[in-house]
Amino acid sequence: MTLMQIAFLIVSAVTILAAWGVVVGRNILRNALALIVAFLGVAALYVLLEATFLAAVQVLIYVGAIAVLIIFAIMLTERFMKQERATNEQWWVVLVASALLAAILIFLVGAVEWQVTSAEIGGQPIADLGRALLTTYVLPFEVASLLLLMALVGAIIIAREQEEA
């Protein structure tokens, strides 16, 4: 067991536990805080995978934007911060089905012989990534900006205070 592997196990244990904290429990604010931990755990996994730029993006966007947005929404709908019952009636069916899905997926990814290469990452990762985004992936890049614009307009229209037509 190498040091890396131990680090991986710790990080993933934390991430999974945090994720568990996201989906169970009646206090939605606590769920949100657990979500932040889980996001950070995923960022740590990216670091272990040598995707440092992505780890930074993860922290900035997920923790900095999405999680904050979620907490914001929780505050706006404060009456629902705590609920009598956090889950619906079908929760145990879902639990069994999700557990089954997890088991199947783990079995499958374990059973496959992946065409793993031992090659190292070449060049300067971050600069090359930026170049790829603006050359090979320039079209999706532009489309993504339009998508964000659309989301902005749409979210504002839907969430804005009601005004007389």
Partner: protein
């Protein structure tokens, strides 16, 4: 001349368009337009017919004209028209009968709120029929076929204020549609196997296909004809279609729609005969003969003047199918044409009666011979033609079918002869009930219809009387040579061997027809029924009840097909809504639901069955009980109740919750993945 024949369906189409868009508000003008258009078609059709008469070998080398419509890669789908003797004869018949019906409608529909619309619909309907007759390919034929289906829907439901009419329209549409889609399948099969929908190419192509495919195609086409021509088991729509105005009945049940099925089989006859031994013709003959007999038995027990004719139509169509089934193409077509005349005559005559007395119930009529003489005499001509009394038209065509069947298969001949006896009997019953004795409902003060209506009756009566002489067997002593050696056969089917004159068969036909008439006279004519008297046939007991209820075919369909579909729909509907929630709540609700279900099961089904069994025994033992009420209605209601209970119970667990939907998705995905892992 023949190159202009495409104009024949165009005239009524034009009048349809003009009426819909411009003259809807001017009733008289609309009617004149429609009649004028069909008159032009009639003139042109006659011209085409006589031109065709003069062309030698038109049967082998039909006139064709086509333009490309669908290019689909390897092949192109041509759409066009053709004229051969069969087409020419059909054109002449259809336009003549339609012209008469159109003229008659002006009087019959007089004062109707939707007068213009009626003429628009019947014009479009006629377009459909003429298009079918002229089509040189299955595509155009199918389109025309569907136009007729749609128009029949609109026309049968024309008096939509009456719920019965609206329901009858829907029933006709859906029942015939069952045949239509099978026909569509046959068409697809032929197209994608032979690469063409043109009759000529198909007939050429089927010789190179696997016999089973050709057989399947033939059977599918026949299935379409079974629906349109109201053959057993898809005959149920036709009697109900009597809810439409009477000219519509004449149009649909004499000259056009029902004839379309027979025509289609005749037109695609080479497909049926392509396979060695003609296996595709066997079901045609069997279903035809069965229908001929079966429908004539039901006609015995009907009291509605139009329904008797409706069942008689089904029966006569059965004869035509029988003729085709035993290979007698010419005989079938001959009967199709004579039948169009005398059946249109009978329908229009019954319309005149209804117009005069204001009811359809023969039990209320009686003695109309005096108050409606013209209607009576023309109706009598139609009745004699239908009964097969020489020298009326129906005699010659029916006799040709029967002699053909006699040579081919004597069982079929026997069935046909029995049906002929019944035909004569029920027609005698009808005539005696309607026109003889004295009115059984004294409220009725009948009067003769206006000349606009009786005129067409006279013309059609002439046809019903004389038309048969065109098809007298050539080898019949004396009469044959005198009447030109069977010119009809000569024209239509030189390639087919003519049925030899068979004095034995002819003698038997005449005897059974006369026997039928005599029996009718004995029961209804000798001492006509008076008001309040029951039908002498009621002495038949359970048989009478069975016939009266048309063998409960409608009820059986309702109990199985209709209920079954609705039940399945209920179930799926409930499944979609609630099965997931149901799974979740299984522990709690299942017990309750199960016990309730159990309880209801006991109450309705078990008790019902016990009662049914008990009551059925009683009913059977006395044989006079009202069998239908207990057994048939009981079964129908029983099934209905079970469906309702199941639907109702499952409905309790319906949701509108998105997470339930997602759970179904998750389970489906898991199931699919599981299936593959298992493999």
């Amino acid at each position: 001349m023949l190159q202009y024949s495409w104009l024949i369906p165009v005239f009524p189409l034009l009048s349809f368009t003009l009426i819909v868009f411009f003259t809807n508000r001017h009733k008289t003008l609309s009617a004149r337009l429609a009649v004028g258009a069909i008159f032009l078609s009639f003139l042109l059709a006659m011209a085409v017919f006589f031109t065709a008469l003069g062309i030698e070998g038109l049967a082998e080398e039909p006139y064709r004209s086509a333009f490309s419509w669908f290019p689909t890669g390897k092949t192109s789908l041509e759409i066009g028209f053709m004229v051969d003797p069969l087409t020419a004869a059909m054109l002449a018949m259809v336009t003549t009968v339609c012209l008469m019906i159109f003229i008659y409608s002006q009087g019959y529909m007089h004062g109707d709120r939707l007068y213009s619309r009626f003429f628009a619909y019947i014009s479009l309907f006629t377009t459909g029929m003429l298009g079918l007759v002229l089509a040189d390919n299955l595509m155009l034929a199918f389109i025309s076929w569907e136009i007729m289906g749609l128009c029949s829907y609109l026309l049968i439901g024309f008096w939509f204020e009456r719920p019965a009419a609206a329901n009858a329209a829907k029933k006709a549409f859906i029942t015939t549609k069952v045949g239509d889609v099978l026909l569509l399948l046959g068409m697809l099969l032929l197209y994608f196997q032979t690469g063409s929908l043109t009759f000529e190419t198909i007939f050429e192509g089927v010789n190179h296909l696997h016999p089973n495919i050709v057989l399947a195609a033939g059977l599918l086409i026949f299935a379409g004809a079974v629906g349109k021509s109201a053959q057993f088991p898809l005959h149920v729509w036709l009697p109900d279609a009597m809810e439409g105005p009477t000219p519509v009945s004449a149009l649909i049940h004499a000259a056009t729609m029902v004839a379309a099925g027979v025509y289609l089989v005749a037109r695609t006859f080479p497909i049926f005969t392509a396979v060695q031994g003609h296996p595709a013709l066997v079901p045609v003959a069997i279903i035809g003969a069965f229908t001929a007999f079966f429908a004539s038995t039901i006609a015995l027990a009907q009291n509605d003047i139009k329904r008797v004719l409706a069942y008689s139509t089904i029966s006569q169509l059965g004869y035509m199918m029988t003729a085709l089934g035993v290979g007698g193409l010419v005989a079938g077509v001959f009967h199709l044409i004579t039948h169009a005349f005398f059946k249109a005559l009978l329908f229009l005559g019954s319309g005149s009666v209804i117009h005069g007395v204001g009811t359809n119930d023969m039990m209320e009529m009686g003695g109309l011979r005096k108050s409606m003489p013209l209607t009576f005499w023309t109706f009598l001509a139609g009745m004699l033609a239908l009964s097969g009394i020489p020298p009326f038209a129906g005699f010659w065509s029916k006799d040709e079918i029967l002699s053909h069947a006699f040579d081919h298969n004597q069982v079929i001949w026997l069935v046909g002869t029995a049906a002929a006896f019944l035909t004569a009997f029920y027609m005698a019953r009808q005539v005696f009930l309607v026109f003889f004795g004295r009115p059984r409902n004294t409220e009725i003060h009948a009067h003769e219809s206006p000349p606009l209506m009786t005129g067409p009756l006279v013309v059609l009566a002439l046809g019903a009387t004389l038309l048969g002489l065109l098809g007298v067997p050539a080898d019949m002593p004396l009469l044959g040579p005198l009447l030109g050696n069977n010119p009809f056969h000569h024209f239509i089917g030189e390639a087919f061997e003519a049925t030899p004159f068979n004095p034995q068969v002819m003698g038997i036909s005449i005897s059974v027809a006369l026997a039928g008439l005599a029996l009718g006279w004995l029961l209804y004519g000798r001492s006509p029924l008076v008001a309040g008297q029951t039908d002498p046939l009621e002495r038949l007991g359970p048989l009478w009840v069975t016939l009266k209820n048309k063998y409960w075919i409608d009820e059986i369909y309702n109990a199985t097909v209709v209920r079954g579909t609705i039940f399945l729909a209920d179930l799926l509907f409930a499944f979609d809504a609630g099965v997931i929630d149901g799974l979740v709540n299984l522990a709690g609700k299942a017990t309750v639901a199960f016990s309730t279900l159990n309880e209801r099961f006991d109450t309705y089904v078990v008790d019902g069955l016990v009662n049914l069994a008990g009551k059925a025994t009683v009913a059977f033992s006395t044989l006079n009980e009202r069998f239908d009420t207990y057994v048939v209605d009981g079964t129908v209601n029983g099934i209905g109740k079970v469906a309702d209970i199941l639907g109702g119970e499952l409905r309790l667990i319906q949701t509108g919750r998105v997470q339930n939907y997602l759970l179904l998705l998750l389970l489906s995905v898991l199931m699919l993945v599981g299936v593959f892992m298992y493999q």
